[in-house]
Symmetry: C2
Amino acid sequence: MAKENQFVNQIADIETDFPRWYTDVVTKTKLVDYGPVKGTMVIRPYGYAIWENIQKELDARIKATGHQNAYFPLLIPYSYMTREAEHVEGFAPEVAVVTVGGGEKLAEPLVIRPTSETIFGEMYSKWLQSYRDLPILINQWANVMRWEKTTRPFLRTSEFLWQEGHTAHATEEEAMEETMKMLGVYKEFAENCLAIPVFTGRKTEKEKFAGAVATFGMEAMMHDGKSLQAGTSHYLGQNFAKAFDIQFLDKDGTHKYAYTTSWGVSTRLIGALIMAHGDQRGLVLPPVVAPVQAIIVPIAAKKEGVLEAAAELKAKLVAAGVRADCDTTDNSPGWKFNEWEMKGVPVRIEIGPRDIEAGKMVLVRRDTHEKTEAPLADAADAVKKLLAEVQQNLFDMAKKRKEERIVTAETVEELLKGVEGGNFVKAGWCGCRECEDKIKEQTAATARVIVEGEHAEKCVCCGKEAKEVVLFARAY
Amino acid sequence: MAKENQFVNQIADIETDFPRWYTDVVTKTKLVDYGPVKGTMVIRPYGYAIWENIQKELDARIKATGHQNAYFPLLIPYSYMTREAEHVEGFAPEVAVVTVGGGEKLAEPLVIRPTSETIFGEMYSKWLQSYRDLPILINQWANVMRWEKTTRPFLRTSEFLWQEGHTAHATEEEAMEETMKMLGVYKEFAENCLAIPVFTGRKTEKEKFAGAVATFGMEAMMHDGKSLQAGTSHYLGQNFAKAFDIQFLDKDGTHKYAYTTSWGVSTRLIGALIMAHGDQRGLVLPPVVAPVQAIIVPIAAKKEGVLEAAAELKAKLVAAGVRADCDTTDNSPGWKFNEWEMKGVPVRIEIGPRDIEAGKMVLVRRDTHEKTEAPLADAADAVKKLLAEVQQNLFDMAKKRKEERIVTAETVEELLKGVEGGNFVKAGWCGCRECEDKIKEQTAATARVIVEGEHAEKCVCCGKEAKEVVLFARAY
């Protein structure tokens, strides 16, 4: 165990120095590295494989709800940004600007998309003619860029990868239905694929997307009790339709502005996974998105027949649809155990001469460290069953934390105490921006979402009548 | 048939005005639209679905040959471009430059990647330590930007999508083997998925990638006899290793520079598909990459049971893995036939009351317009068989054209006559740049690839001893 401890010691303590733990884990497991330009990241193969699994699962859901993928240009004329007043105010300060192309100064500066409502708007205005063309339901997987001052891999980087859906509808009702539908898709995806239970709800005016009528977000509780905004769905009303002239000829023969929505999740989700499930030994990846679901470690690998049996087992698992790999390096089994635990592989399979003789294998779960045995003849079913159990248990543990760590507050002092203790705090709010600002100033907590269907007497800050119950938390 | 002719007339004549035919087809079939920034394109859902199919097929091949995907940053410090002398000479004139970020002028200008050898080189230098770390085999799917003066959708756009593989190896032999292996992967993919036979071979010094020791390309013959460079694989020797200090400690205890390669194909392949297989009625898409493989057109759709039978047929085909759709719009069958022919759907299925009664369907191939019947009970197998036949026939037709349209030339006049007649021309070449330039000037043809294993007496241009046989063609 000496070796293991030595290894564990390379990762900062998860309880006392969570930010450093995060940095240690993302770099040591080779998920990511820092790019040469400040604030950029290189997503390394192990990290990108998680993103590919996220894409696969989410893309299927986006298509199943009737959307098609497309690709819109990276560069947007600067003037487009200025057409929607709130939008330019929100995004202009953080854009990267191209001023030179092909050796010449450009007549108009171009921004690298920080988000694509404007360029989708421009094209939709061109494509949309009649009510028969509606709804337009398009998604794209793309890179975007927002010039950030403080950056951390996956959580906040100047360039990141995401999907952004942009839809146009004939009526307010349909657009609102779409907005909520996609929020629901995100929630189901987060819970069933990432094993992360989330809070969903409307954002306050202060926290909403620049240019939206209303933003709905999903918030996930991290290991330290802070919140991470894991996805948003925006009801844009006619704001962008008016700014970009997205009109259609309706059944009644009159021209009307469309109602639009947009919604997105990004490589931030990888940060969410890490901080929701990780432990002192490193990553703990949910099987659905883990690049390697089962790692086979041969014991006494030089003994006759061991590597062959391991290879055969791997082939059997792969054929059954398990993402299995076999570590055939000449490192010691103990070193391999640590390495793959740090990398968060959900199930480790140990197989040595005695196991082979007895026709069995040893299975070790990453989440509970529980050891079991299973017959080799039944390998694929046993591993699949265990993977499903790990997936469920990760969700259950995260859900338990989420439920245990919600407190209520009647005063700003209580709210402060709550978030300092690593909790989400429910509190009444009068609805005014002044109180929201004051709460942030005094507690470093922000309004994450407005809680539906709950009631409070007084605003936690000013004591006046509460209009809403708000979920407050410190956030990434 | 009046309606059909009317429809066909909307597309320019393929024989007399191929460039206009191309533009008509890509826009009318909604593959693509022009972006607001000059030279950019919006890849619309129908076009993007082709790209997704290309990605799926090619990505599987890239992974099967041991490569992993990753994602490297979009922005590259300008100074990186200058480290490899040929590279900066080739790419600096066509980069887009970011000079402002977050409202402030940047200390160092950043280029939007025109290709990523430099930033991969920088990271490989950081990651690579020992020979045990080799080979490094990484690919990325990404957008790149090259500021082009004359642009055409898919063929030449300032921004395009591609994959770029970047590998590092311990020896020259291994790197060269990788270069040729990926050229082979591209060829197999082009022939079996895109149904496009290709010429592969080494490029001349003039035509090689800026910074490569040697470039190998694959060239495809288009409908008009011009060539399209459909993919390239570069052996970079130690050029980038030296420029970016990619060194490793070898078994013998000494530090050595690695040998690197890079290889890529792009959304140009969609242009290749269109121009290799298209006809007067529009697109003709190979089944392997067609977004819709079989379109069901209900006949007398208002008659009882027709739409139900069509829906049932669609469900059956989809369940069998066929990308099938059913056109339930209220357009006439004739209009639908034209529409889906223009969109290049490989197989059309007609189903009406009499067919349903007889338990059969009518199948119409897009490539030969041949009509056959098949029992509904056997629908999936019949459609799959027909799709395989269409795929094979498209390849055979393209191969026949490729073989028929190769001529040889002894003089520049003959070479000119050859390319003017829509041919590829094989000719001897002395190996000097002067002749290559002169040939281009006089014939508008360029050296596409050097032909292996063939011999010519004299250079087609200067008459001196020929060192190589070169395949000349006018090219996109």
